[in-house]
């Protein structure tokens, strides 16, 4: 898979993450019942003691994380932006892993939206590691990358 496609896929997945985290943040602040097909498990997770850290709802932390990941994918790509995406998705993955642990072993309830978010963050991490190892598609630091400039081609297609 080329660097350009990897970036587009990452962008789409990050947008999904933003949408999901926005919904969960809205549910939290509106005080409404989250959509759930498995009874009250979502509610149990999202109203549990683990639903906020230091008073900050984890849904909001997730939303900020996805927005930051998106922000590293939008500008012209280089070593620094790819590293930033990698570090953010690594942090997001770790946070998702922690929350999943709490769901499985502390609350014994799984929230569907939270599990989906964990999958999204895992995919983003895989893609960011892939893109990071693929490196600069052109230039003197070329390391086994396919031809074609990722930054030039994509930057033209993305507003901002």
């Amino acid at each position: 898979m080329g660097a350009r496609i990897l970036r587009w896929v990452s962008l789409l997945i990050a947008l999904l993450g933003v949408a999901l985290a926005s919904y969960l943040t809205y549910v939290h602040y509106a005080g409404i019942k989250p959509l759930c097909t498995a009874g009250n498990t979502c509610l149990k997770v999202q109203t549990s003691v683990y639903s906020h850290i230091l008073g900050i709802p984890v849904a909001l932390i997730g939303l900020i994380g996805y927005v930051l990941v998106l922000a590293t994918l939008l500008p012209r790509q280089g070593e620094n932006t790819r590293l930033a995406t990698l570090l953010l998705t690594a942090g997001g993955f770790a946070f998702s892993a922690y929350l999943t642990y709490r769901e499985l072993f502390s609350l014994h309830a799984v929230c569907e939206e939270c599990a989906t978010s964990a999958v999204i963050m895992t995919l983003l991490l895989i893609l960011s590691v892939w893109r990071f190892l693929l490196g600069e598609p052109t230039g003197s630091t070329h390391v086994g990358a396919p031809a074609g400039s990722e930054s030039g081609e994509l930057a033209a297609g993305i507003p901002g």
Binding site: T47, A94, S106, V129
Partner: protein, 278 residues
């Protein structure tokens, strides 16, 4: 001539080969340097993973729930003093806190292990008590609805233990103390010893009577009736509330499923005023 020409060509060739070798070596060194840098950066990413997990565990273990305080310990004394200053002097009867003839009634559906109920009870509820219950305008009825407690048997046991204190008109002491000394969710902290420890902190409670009555089937049935009622109301989480003029129709106020509970008091006040005027 031709020998000199061949020698010149060979020298040129050697120079080009040497240059090519140098370039290859430089390129190899650059690639090795890049690889080394990327490995360090990947290591940094792995460290980020470890750091985030460690911080999340450290923060959550520091902020999630309290361990149940032992009777007569400093923490228990502090909780007892707080609860006493909140409800001392307010009439109690069964599951009701407040003047039995109060013009407005608030029904509070809760699970004693529910951390959001704890947040509400410790955060917004004291101002409701001070402004409306203590002034005789409002009475509050506590009812049971299982949400956070994992084991239904434990849920019934803990809620019935509170009702047993209610048979001595001290249920609200028990409920408040439970929330103040609530343990970590699903950590299995609710044991007979924990319940007894709370009961020992309730001022003036006849402990032997409470112990004898807390396993009464009537109390368990009452817990089950509360749960049926919560289901009929369509409640999905705790705390959930019904509010209205005493003896009149009750209506759902809100389901606080994670909203800022500190705003709950402000949210209740106009509703209570409305019920009082109706």
């Amino acid at each position: 001539m031709s020998t000199t020409g061949e020698q010149g060509s060979t020298r040129k060739q050697r120079r080009e080969e040497a240059r090519a070798r140098r370039k290859a070596l430089e390129s190899q060194a650059a690639q090795q340097e890049l690889r080394r840098r990327r490995l360090i950066q990947l290591g940094a990413a792995a460290l980020v993973v470890i750091a985030v997990v460690a911080i999340a565990f450290a923060v959550s273990s520091g902020s999630s729930g309290n361990s149940a305080a032992k009777p007569h310990s400093k923490a228990a004394n502090e909780a007892s003093a707080t609860v006493d200053s909140l409800i001392n002097g307010i009439p109690q009867s069964g599951n009701v806190l407040g003047n039995p003839h109060a013009p407005a009634t608030l029904v509070y559906f809760g699970d004693l292990q529910c951390p959001i109920c704890r947040e509400f009870t410790l955060g917004a509820f004291p101002s409701v008590v001070a402004n409306f219950v203590r002034t005789g305008k409002l009475k509050v009825e506590y009812r049971s609805m299982e949400t956070a407690t994992r084991e239904p048997a434990i849920f019934r046991e803990q809620q019935a233990a509170a009702l047993a204190a209610g048979l001595q008109h001290k249920m609200w002491y028990f409920v408040e103390l439970f929330y103040h000394e609530q343990g970590e969710e699903d950590s299995g902290y609710v044991t007979p010893a924990y319940l007894r420890g709370l009961a020992q902190q309730v001022p003036g409670l006849n402990l032997a009577r409470w112990e004898a009555e807390r396993s009464s089937p009537k109390l368990v049935e009452e817990v089950e009736r509360n749960e049926t009622e919560a289901g009929e109301q369509g409640f999905n989480g705790t705390p959930s509330f019904l509010l209205g003029k005493t003896g009149g129709p009750m209506r759902k106020v809100t389901e606080l499923t994670g909203a800022d509970l500190n705003e709950a008091s402000a949210l209740f006040e106009p509703e209570i005023e409305k019920a009082l005027k109706s």
